[in-house]
Symmetry: C2
Subunit: 306 residues, 2 copies
Amino acid sequence: MRERDLIARIRSHNAALDGVPGLDVPVPPGDDMALVRFGDGHVLVAADQVIEGRHFLRDTPMDLVARKAIARNVSDVAAMAAVPRATVATAALPRGMVDQDVEALADGLRRWAAHWGCPMVGGDVGVHAGDGPLVVSVSILAQPGPTGRVITRAGAAAGDLLCVTGALGGSLAPDGRGRHLTFEPRVGPALALAAELGDRLHAMIDVSDGLARDAGHLAAAAGRAVEVDPSRVPCTHGTGWQGALADGEDHDLAFACAGPPPAAVGGVPVTVVGRFVAHAPGAPLVVAIDGARRIPADDAGWEHRT
Amino acid sequence: MRERDLIARIRSHNAALDGVPGLDVPVPPGDDMALVRFGDGHVLVAADQVIEGRHFLRDTPMDLVARKAIARNVSDVAAMAAVPRATVATAALPRGMVDQDVEALADGLRRWAAHWGCPMVGGDVGVHAGDGPLVVSVSILAQPGPTGRVITRAGAAAGDLLCVTGALGGSLAPDGRGRHLTFEPRVGPALALAAELGDRLHAMIDVSDGLARDAGHLAAAAGRAVEVDPSRVPCTHGTGWQGALADGEDHDLAFACAGPPPAAVGGVPVTVVGRFVAHAPGAPLVVAIDGARRIPADDAGWEHRT
């Protein structure tokens, strides 16, 4: 089974929480975070991991491994326009990992978690019995922002504009380095968008799977389709629009809003790259508009078909 | 560095949260769970993992792997006399893991989490790039029980009795099976103890590192010492008192109470096995009383010295 299919299957199973007595989850699994009622308030929670060989290479400095493990989670908080509050982490360490690296990892996790306002309050560390790569798993708790509103993936209306913050593509450099290790989670811009746009902000996601796919997530969650104009997609230096649409691990924001967005939020530019439309049964969720051509762009690898 | 030293170093670092602005953590890292203020309420949070080869063998049925991953976390909730509310999980899968096992793991995690009242509301799954063992990391959210009081590791007074629920030792069978895969987290008994004993319940922990070590954690957290009578320690069938004191992964409760405990809570027997005393500087934290002999029993392996 392909990993993507696997994840989709597990996620779809996870969404079936209806039968759980007493559970109050206003935002269920499948979004960037789940929202769980606690007493009179709400807690947002999510978990994400980094695996050596998949999310970072063996020679990556431990401080950057720690940074990415925390930042991926903080980016999920940004996607909900929420405020990071606390983290916990577990690490499965390679047997031969030197003390200096272990300390650097632990220090890095603590420091980056505190940096983004979600101090590490607990966790566990274990050492592999045989050969095994470093696996760092982080869970994050967050609370709704000052508006009290949590922005989910669902809610795009036909006519809404698809917008992105920053620039996309080329996050994962061929040598394993690149922006995926150093991106800045967009917590501040997300809170600013929620405040400035108010009810005009309909849905949001962080771009982790590539814009085409993540725009498709927004479309699917709302029962709409989305048309993307590749020529308008802001590309990072050296990246073509194919990369900007298909590359993952950007961790900028994609959002649906009614009417024009601000030109920038929190110092980060905002660009309109498409719009949501009604979805006809059987039609693609994501269509790239290339001059007169309409190119179905659902799912990964669509760029290989153009 | 030995794993235990490593964990101790990381935990001690984690306890240094004083410098984090705006953080309100009435129970900081180092206890079974951290307590974090959220709005008007509190959330308890912890994380724990199971690593193939360390916490289960490769041929362990996936349902039992999932059970243990969840149960270890639920046991941390029991140790605080709290109520499990929600879980999130990440899994790093071996490349060759067959679909059936992946489904069984995902189903098991969902089912056991719901079974103990803490449905799985989110998570992430990834596949190792090369060889790599299964690593399942679970984080759990809990809320204080009906008494509103959270029972920490600290608080044992000189004269308090050291008590345990159930029976100890031999949880990890030589063939990899055993009670460590099937133990019942003591959430109900812990809540019953908090309700019945009230302010007489001074401190609690779940026995995961072996009674000698975990009693030492209670003693250290309170600045006391503890005397254990090995002849009174309830042993599982086939286990001697050395095993009952030194074996880990029992996940029964050890607690400090003023005056006699109930004979049983929630159908689980309670046994008085020792008492807390004043701690003289330089003296051992844990002493086993063997007739007229006083045997220092701090830390692992003390049984090899008898």
